[in-house]
């Protein structure tokens, strides 16, 4: 039988994988995607707890997290594109200096 434990551990696993991706990879786009995975893991926790407690507040929070994720993706990608224009690379290690 599936209990909330399963969902919590699954979301912890997803969160850890997202964290690993964000820390280990040097490709900025994969780092951004890993951050999306972490947000998804958090959403999963919210939805699971909300199912467990039988209140819908978790759904509302998931909605807000999605809006934040969309904003983050838009800004993040805009920064990536403008950095790529000046540096011609997407490696995070090549972007150590902030001044162009």
């Amino acid at each position: 039988m599936i209990t909330i434990h399963h969902y919590l551990i699954l979301s912890a696993l997803l969160f850890t994988l997202g964290l690993l991706g964000a820390v280990l990879r040097k490709n900025i786009l994969i780092v951004l995607m890993s951050i999306e995975v972490m947000m998804n893991a958090i959403n999963l926790t919210f939805i699971a707890v909300s199912r467990y407690l039988r209140v819908m507040d978790g759904h509302v929070v998931a909605f807000f997290v999605m809006a934040v994720a969309a904003a983050e993706a838009a800004i993040g990608l805009a920064i990536v594109v403008s950095l790529f224009r000046t540096r011609q690379t997407i490696k995070t290690t090549d972007w150590r200096m902030m001044r162009g």
């Binding site: 919590l8 912890a12 994988l17 786009l29 909300s50 507040d57 969309a70 990536v80």
Partner: protein, 164 residues
């Protein structure tokens, strides 16, 4: 019974696709794996009787955010040397170890809590109507703030994207 089977199917899809996403050299391929991973998570939302959030997950993540990622990736026109997978070193192994410890810590704490199984739900749980009612009454101010956040993000993206 079928819930268990579906849970494991969706769990394997989401975790497997995220793993594949992390260990890919080509970001376009990993973006696509991530789309399938998001579908797995959407399936989990359906299992948790949150159809509205599940549809939003597909609509927002798979339909908008990942399309944006793919669009940028296609526009960037990456060179071959950007796509090499970076080598394994001690720093990375350390980070991985710490992550596994962190996961074990989380799992340990989760399983120690005594809990009941899932109960039956009220009639309109997770429907657009229920979530919407909550969104426009209790959470009205956060909702408006989120809309301002999105507006700021749009303006920021336009300003950043503009060539000087």
């Amino acid at each position: 019974m079928s819930e268990t089977i579906f849970f494991y199917i969706f769990a394997v899809i989401s975790v497997g696709m995220v793993l594949l996403m992390i260990f890919q050299t080509n970001p376009i391929v990993s973006a696509l794996y991530l789309v399938f991973g998001f579908f797995g998570v959407a399936g989990l939302y359906v299992l948790l009787s949150a159809p509205f959030v599940a549809v939003l997950q597909v609509l927002v993540y798979a339909g908008a955010i990942m399309v944006l990622f793919l669009f940028v990736l296609m526009l960037l026109n990456l060179r071959k040397e950007d796509l090499v997978y970076d080598r394994l070193n001690w720093r990375k192994i350390g980070v991985g170890g710490v992550a596994i410890l962190f996961l074990g810590f989380l799992a340990h704490h989760f399983t120690r809590i005594q809990i009941q199984p899932f109960f039956d739900l009220p009639e309109n749980f997770g429907t657009p109507e229920g979530v919407g009612r909550l969104l426009f009454t209790t959470y009205l101010i956060p909702f408006e703030l989120v809309s301002i956040l999105l507006l700021v993000a749009i303006i920021g993206a336009v300003v950043l994207g503009k060539r000087q």
